[in-house]
Amino acid sequence: MLSYTIRRLLLLIPVFLVVSIVIFLIIHLVPGDPIDNLVRVGSTPEQKAEITARYGLDRPLVEQYLIWLSQLAQGDLGTAIVMRRPVADLIAQNLPYSLTLGGLALLFSTVLGIAAGVIAAMNKEGRIDRTVMTGVLFGSTMPSFWLGLILILVFAVQLRWFPVSGARSWESLVLPVLTIGLGGMALVARVTRIAMLETAGKDFVLLLHAKGLPARRIQLRHVLRHALLPVVTILGLRIGWVLGGAVTVEYVFARPGLGMLLIKALSQHDYPVVQACLLMLAMAVMLGTLLGDLIQAAMDPRVRSALT
């Protein structure tokens, strides 16, 4: 298990390099540059050239990439060109907000998603199953940007239960968590339901029934345990998704976070910030997948034995 973990971690390095190249190229090849956002009315072309040189943007792309990568290796994310602060500071300021929101949304979608999936599976083809699955379908198809505004209209404007926006109190977390969590919940519920129905058809379940165990106990103790394996994989993938998917939600609810930072930096073409944000999101996806695989290995002896 340990050697497997180490091997998986080492494998991340080439993936990381490829991701960093892709991120670097995307942002640098898109037309537009940050200096246009810096120079103001009245400054001369010479002043502009000076600023460009100050940030090394006049050098060849390959050289710029190597400089960025070597600084990155030393843990230096650089300084924001337009926002004028160390990028690490900006990330450190925004990451906790994103992690809180993402973590709670993930928790919400895990708990409610599994619960909904189990309920639906136990009432297979019944009225409850149909109702839950319809609701889930609805939840998974609604764009989060729109859902966020609708939730604001209903719960903040009409009912006045929660504040419209901001990040000042725990109440202001409820609507954003719901917005992100509902989509994830839908996915988890569907996967749980299908996995449970599939497991229920296995021979060992038949045996358990033959042994005379109560049906409810078979479902919750035995079937669910097996069915959770694909769910864990999905959740691992969602970890990265939850951070990235919060971008539009943070924008609608005026919450600080990686997404807000990314949107702002994108519109200003602030290269170091965009690069760092995208890198963080890519890392989250990579680590999330790894975590999902490790948990799966820990849970399933078959996967573990295949490793050695």
Partner: protein, 526 residues
């Protein structure tokens, strides 16, 4: 005995009531404002170094002079000033008894320490003309100039020239403006979270409000929270539900909705923006001045104002906002809708009406490219202009780019016409957009004309006094207009929406809008 008791009870209850009233008053003297969306994300309150500054900054820092909405200059931390006739010296007499938030005195030494700190920053050009600062006495400071700078007062009135406390500025280094920001303004910075909110506490020692506000200090509202909300629908809903009390910069689309709410008010004032259409003079057929003139005269400003902006705002007929003296050009040179003349000019230029109403010359149809950036407003403007050009037989094809990408595209010189806007309240914007030094972007018209360059040089560096500068810029502006390198379209308004149940605004605010100096007079409804 009974009587006495009753009396005691009465006094007690009055005391209770006063107590209740005073605590209510204390709670009520707080307000929450929402920053304009284009100011969201300003990373620091360091006016010297920051490339971007927001609406809270002028409340923390005072400047030497203030500028009124009519663009006139008024004393603030400088009580008066004299300019040498050759423009090579300026003497400023500073107001006495002014203190920074940390107790440092405001005096000539503070100015002498502040001006050199601009060196090497992006804002350096604002003081670039100042050779050195001489301290004449405690409250008098002399600027010795490298060259005359008639724009000096304008620069001093800018928010970037709010004066920081010299000792704190030096000691805190890069932390200044991030953890603390110390000026002489009517409010002190208590907390600041980038992209989220800024909390300001009233400066109770403040007695040096400028003549633009009735109240000289201290300010009436005790605590102001500036929130940053990027999504405009969200900030409108916050205002509607009472989560915030005032929105700076309400988009025109929302004004009708704000007006429909009985407890909300809107104040609309002229903005510093001009929407215009640059014409690329190096691209066929616009190399012909007659075609350029025809194109400019085809733009129907009145129709655009009425149909797109619902009559809110003003028509633009030259390049500058109407409040600037340099906008007051010879009326004959103003560019206005004139379809007859436009058609006649195209006929003269050899473009004859062909099939489908599109003009032709030597078998080639009059097809042009019209660019715009992604914002809804520009898309609509482009469509309106497209229809108006069609009316004179010009077939314009619209292409949309994102706002950063479009600047790179301009530099490739593949464009012909574009709809865009700028925001600036100084005539030097003509140099920015039409100087031959900046072809592509910002000089989208690609205009590089020897006479234009000569007039530019005279206006930019050849003026000794403000009067001379105005005259020189007017001449430059008139020449630019006569060459039809752009078509003026529209001057927007800026709107502030507020909760009438919460804020009491003055008549001046209703007329002039809520400028930083006006916040001194703003009151929370009791």
């Amino acid at each position: 005995m009974k009587h006495q008791l009753r009396k005691a009870f009465l006094t007690g209850s009055t005391t209770l009531m006063t107590l209740a009233a005073s605590s209510l008053w204390a709670i009520a003297q707080e307000a929450t404002f929402v920053m304009p969306t284009n100011e969201v994300g300003a990373a620091t309150y360091n006016p010297v170094k920051s490339p971007m500054i927001n609406a809270a900054s002028p409340l923390i820092f005072d400047g030497l002079v203030v500028q009124d909405v009519d663009q006139s200059f008024h004393p603030h931390l400088a009580e008066s000033w004299e300019e040498a006739p050759d423009g090579m010296q300026w003497v400023f007499h500073l107001r006495k008894g002014v203190k920074f938030h940390n107790g440092e005195p405001f005096n000539a030494d503070a100015i002498a320490a502040w001006i050199p700190s601009f060196a090497g920053t992006d804002n350096a050009y604002m003081v670039e003309a100042i050779d050195k600062v001489e301290v004449v006495d405690e409250n008098t400071v002399k600027f010795v100039m490298k060259r005359p700078e008639p724009n000096l007062l304008f620069n001093f009135a800018s928010a970037f020239m709010g004066i920081p406390a010299p000792k704190a500025y030096k000691e805190m280094g890069d932390k200044f403006g991030v953890t603390e920001a110390i000026g002489t303004g009517p409010y002190k910075l208590t907390s600041f979270t980038v992209g989220q909110e800024t909390v300001l506490e009233r400066n109770d020692d403040y007695t040096w409000g400028s003549e633009l506000s009735q109240n000289k200090g201290p300010a009436k509202i005790q605590k102001i929270t500036f929130r940053e909300i990027p999504e405009q629908s969200t900030s409108f809903l916050e205002l509607k539900t009472g989560g915030v009390d005032l929105l700076f910069g309400v988009p025109t689309d929302f004004i009708a909705q704000v007006k429909a709410e009985p407890n909300l008010g809107v104040i609309t004032t002229p903005a510093y923006d001009v929407a215009y259409m640059p014409i690329n003079v190096t691209s066929e057929p616009f190399t012909d001045i007659k075609v350029r003139e025809a194109t400019a005269l085809a733009v129907n400003q009145k129709q655009i104002l009425d149909s797109i902006y619902g009559g809110i705002g003003m028509e633009a007929h030259n390049f500058l906002i109407s409040a600037l003296p340099e906008a007051n050009v010879d009326p004959k040179l103003n560019i206005s809708y004139n379809p007859e003349r436009a058609n006649q000019l195209l006929d003269e230029a050899g473009w004859k009406t062909g099939a489908n109403g599109v003009r032709e010359k030597d078998g080639k149809p009059l097809k042009v490219k019209l660019w715009a950036q992604t914002d809804t407003e520009f898309k609509r403007l482009a469509e309106a202009v497209q229809a108006q050009l069609k009316a004179i037989g010009m077939d314009a094809e619209i292409t949309i780019y994102d706002s950063s990408a479009i600047r790179d595209e301009y530099k490739k010189n593949q464009h012909q016409l574009a709809v865009r806007s700028y925001e600036w309240n100084n005539a030097d914007i003509i140099d920015w957009f039409f100087s031959g030094q900046r072809l592509g972007y910002p000089n989208i018209s690609m205009w590089n004309d020897p006479k234009g360059e000569e007039l530019n040089k005279k206006a930019m560096t050849g003026s000794k006094t403000l009067e001379e500068r105005i005259a020189n810029f007017k001449a430059y502006h008139e020449y630019v207009l006569s060459q039809f390198v752009f078509a003026p379209i529209y001057q927007p308004v800026t709107s502030v929406a507020y909760n009438k149940d919460r804020l009491k605004v003055t008549d001046t605010m209703l007329k002039k809008g809520i400028e930083p100096s006006q916040i001194m007079d703003l009151e929370v409804v009791q």
